[in-house]
């Protein structure tokens, strides 16, 4: 089997849903990831949905999704006997992902200087809600709170009323994007540090505040404010900008939606009018806006929007977007996530993966690779660990404890 990109990297993951997606990326890129959970299992095992809707720490689809490809040990890190074990695990790791509550490791005597002494080559990645210092350091947060404070919500929602006010709230796009946004950037930083270590030989500590990661990841609202001190307006299914722009989402014949942004380029506008004409919806456009230079402004947009509304309303959601795309029009079906499973394009690219759950006698479709790298294929699997599934293997095989010692630790509630 071909190597993953990070074939020789060992990662230790401590914490909860804030850092779990980063560990998933490491596992996908071929690193060995050991997840340390409290005895009985970590907090995200309580997140739904659950397999067959039966809540159970081994049936959380949330946990399955975010922990696929990892190995799992249990350890009560606060137990007196645990510290030496934790130190051994850290000493053998290249990367430590820490999304425990603030200062947990320092209180155990494992602050950065101590960790460094333990393992001078360690990349120590700390993911916190707001940072390790500052006025909001101790604020409580969830995914929703981060998407509010960080700025995405004030860009997302529905059109204002004609008088410019809103009767609908800002929207937090589902699901778990504050953690996605933070972990993507955490992973970038950590792999960057691994590359740097090749030259310096030294470890690194990286502090990643989720709030900052989210706040830098909106698009034009911040530069528009910095350069022109203007606010942006939330608009249905399209960019929040200073002015209200033409509709971009259209109802299809089967009660679904298609999307198309108007006014991207003159070439695309021309191709679109030609396409609408072919489909029999271009008569008014061709009559009123024969001259290509007249194809701009609110009247043209209204006419084009009308033609699009009629055309999209005449076809099912999957019916003609490909045909439009072949004419270089960026038309797209608004799909449900699961509707991509049957698509030939993703099948050819192995975008989804089948993962076995032997103890259930079943296998399921997972989202697989975020890219196609044939030399270093992305790994999806094996399935997420059961609580403490690899205790014997890791504590026995790698930390050198015998079966009796492992059993003793288990009886005492340490693992």
């Amino acid at each position: 089997m071909a190597d993953g990109f990070l074939f020789d990297v060992k990662v230790l993951e401590l914490g909860d849903e804030k850092g779990e997606f980063c560990g998933k990326l490491f596992a996908g890129a071929g690193a060995e990831v050991i997840k340390v959970e409290p005895p009985g299992g970590g907090p995200s095992r309580l997140n739904g949905p659950f397999y067959q809707d039966q809540p159970d720490p081994t049936r959380s689809l949330y946990f399955w999704h975010y922990n696929v490809g990892k190995r799992g040990v249990t350890l009560d890190i606060h137990a007196p006997r645990a510290k030496a074990m934790l130190e051994k695990l850290i000493a053998r790791s290249d990367v430590l992902i820490d999304s425990l509550p603030l200062d947990t490791l320092s209180r155990l005597g494992l602050d950065w200087p101590a960790l460094r002494k333990l393992n001078p080559r360690l990349i120590y990645l700390v993911i916190t809600p707001f940072g390790r210092s500052g006025p909001w350091r101790d604020y409580k947060a969830t995914d929703l709170i981060h998407l509010a404070l960080g700025g995405p919500m004030m860009c997302c929602g529905y059109d204002p009323k004609p008088d410019g006010t809103y009767d609908t709230p800002p929207i937090a796009p589902q699901m778990w994007h504050a953690y996605h946004i933070a972990c993507n950037q955490a992973f970038i930083a950590a792999v960057g540090a691994l590359i740097g270590r090749e030259m310096s030989g030294a470890g690194e500590m990286i502090d990643l505040p989720i709030h900052q990661a989210v706040a830098v990841s909106t698009e034009v609202d911040v530069p528009i404010w910095i350069y022109s001190q203007k606010p942006v307006l939330r608009q249905t299914g399209r960019h929040a900008v200073q002015r209200v722009t033409p509709q971009a989402q259209f109802k299809t014949a089967d009660g679904r939606y298609s999307m198309l942004l108007l006014g991207i380029t003159p070439r695309e506008s021309a191709a679109l009018i030609e396409f609408l004409t072919e489909k029999g919806f271009g008569a008014e456009l061709n009559e009123k806006f024969k001259d290509p230079t007249s194809r701009r402004g609110p009247e043209f947009n209204a006419c084009l929007t009308g033609a699009l509304t009629r055309c999209m309303g005449a076809y099912g959601v999957e019916e003609i977007w490909r045909e439009a795309q072949r004419k270089r029009i960026s038309w797209a079906a608004v799909r449900l996530p699961e509707e991509n499973l049957g698509d030939e394009h993703w099948r050819m690219r192995q975008t989804f993966a089948r993962v076995e759950h032997p103890e259930l006698g079943a296998s399921f479709n997972y989202v697989g690779a975020p890219t196609l790298a044939e030399q270093c294929p992305w790994r999806t699997g094996p399935r997420a660990p059961l609580p403490g599934e690899h205790n014997q293997e890791i504590y026995g095989g790698q930390l050198g404890l015998d079966a009796e010692q492992v059993e003793d630790l288990r009886r005492q509630g340490v693992i």
Binding site: P49, L149, C155, G157, L372
Partner: protein, 422 residues
């Protein structure tokens, strides 16, 4: 020391989904050289807001004139901070020969052209590899090169629509999807563009091997749809929008509530009974908070419409930031739906974290640019990169690249300029 010191990236990407990737490598210390030519400027150079005069495309110009006012876009300045830029006409055979000489001294080539462009120019992976055996070539297209939709166009909203991200966002039927009010998949696409380059650089450092990666904007989008595909596969359940309500655990109240002021809202998430009691106490424990229909988490979830209405009637009287402070002090997770103005002008935590850094630009002066959100204890990391500057002007680094790196003589460079190659 900078982690990516000595890594050179030839950047043939555009806009944000591509251009943001090399930006991140640059922040980590790589040298990203952006390649443009007169007929193929990054379109963000022409996107406002501008500092000073706007780009003037109307005036006829001789082929050797530099394009007018293309260095004044604030958005371009933010997205390309720290990069170098050269002008090099890739549509001309001699331009492509010069490009090959650059490949010979680079580590990574990344492009976001439509799928066949580089191959049609005779610059596919096999050719690049013959020039530099350990080259990393990331082809970052919309849908990916391999597959039946190769060549289809994409930008953020297309990726979001197809992947399901659009459908996942918004109020329940009969409301339509709200989707994303910006190109979420432009930044996120850029993250995966950066991730794939970094992974390949690490692999090359460890094994000496380069590689070709067939990247896309669509697949990272699918990768971010969370547990929805698994829920369908395991439970046969189709995704249904639930607005801002909690989807993984029972939490109520959980949503955004109107505050005093024009279009002001606060997000509140109550995760347990203690927080509910604290919230009720902040409201002055009105009678309704003690009613059985709100007594337990399960009861509050079952009666959320009414709960949200009552809570919203109270928040509507409150100034949002004072309320945030009060609720957080009482141990309730709460946060204002912040605008860009809030974040830039008042957010004390972002200021504490130095989220914006001033970077100099030769034509528009010094402006704040969004810094990367990772703080390194030892290595020097920051937006602006090794040059510690904002975005490059068109062709700003021609002397450095053609003179110092390729050692072309001044006369040779002048000839290439006159012929419209550089």
């Amino acid at each position: 020391m900078r982690p990516l010191e000595g890594v050179r990236v030839l950047d043939l990407t555009w806009v944000l989904a591509g251009g943001g990737g090399p930006r991140l490598l640059d922040a980590l210390g790589a040298e990203a050289i952006r390649i443009e030519w007169r007929e193929r400027l990054d379109s963000l150079r022409l996107a406002g807001p501008f500092v000073g005069p706007e780009p003037d495309q109307s005036r006829p110009r001789r082929p050797t004139d530099p394009p007018a006012n293309v260095n004044r876009s604030g958005i371009f300045n933010d997205i390309n901070a720290g990069k170098r830029a050269i002008s090099l006409n890739m549509t001309r055979p001699e331009g492509r020969e010069i490009f090959k000489r650059l490949v010979a001294i680079s580590d990574v080539v990344v492009d976001s052209f439509t799928s066949e462009t580089m191959r049609n120019w005779g610059l596919g992976y096999e050719v690049l590899k013959s020039i530099k055996p350990d080259i990393i070539y990331l082809q970052q297209s919309g849908w990916g090169y391999k597959g039946v939709y190769s060549g289809f166009g994409s930008y953020g909203p297309v990726a979001q629509a197809i992947s399901g991200l659009t459908e996942q966002s918004g109020l329940p039927e009969p409301y339509p999807p709200a989707g994303w009010g910006y190109s979420y998949m432009d930044w996120s696409g850029a993250y995966y563009c950066a991730i794939m380059m970094l992974l390949a650089v690490y692999y090359k450092r460890r094994t000496g091997k380069g590689q070709y990666i067939d990247g896309s904007q669509l697949e990272p989008s699918i990768y971010l749809t969370g547990t929805a595909v698994l829920d369908y596969s395991a439970n046969g359940r189709h995704w249904q929008r639930r607005g801002n309500r909690a989807i993984a655990r029972p939490m109520a109240p959980h949503g955004v509530y109107r505050c005093a002021g024009e279009d002001r809202w606060i997000a509140i998430a109550v995760t347990n009974e203690e927080e509910w009691r604290a919230l009720a106490a902040q409201m002055g424990t009105p009678q309704w908070t003690a009613e059985p229909r709100f007594a337990t988490m399960a009861a509050r979830v079952a009666n959320q419409d009414e709960l949200d209405r009552l809570l919203g009637a109270w928040t509507a009287q409150q100034e949002p930031f004072a309320l945030q402070e009060r609720l957080q002090a009482a141990g309730v997770a709460a946060g204002v739906c912040q605008t860009a103005e809030d974040r830039v002008e008042r957010d004390p935590q972002l200021r504490h974290l130095n989220w914006l850094i001033p970077l100099p630009h030769p034509e528009i002066g010094t402006w704040p640019v969004k810094n990367v959100p990772f703080h390194f204890a030892n290595a020097v990391v920051g937006q602006g990169g090794p040059l510690e500057r904002a975005a490059p002007c068109y062709g700003q680094d021609n002397d450095y690249v053609y003179g110092e790196l390729l050692r072309l003589s001044a006369q040779e460079r002048e000839r290439l300029r006159r012929q419209g190659i550089i």
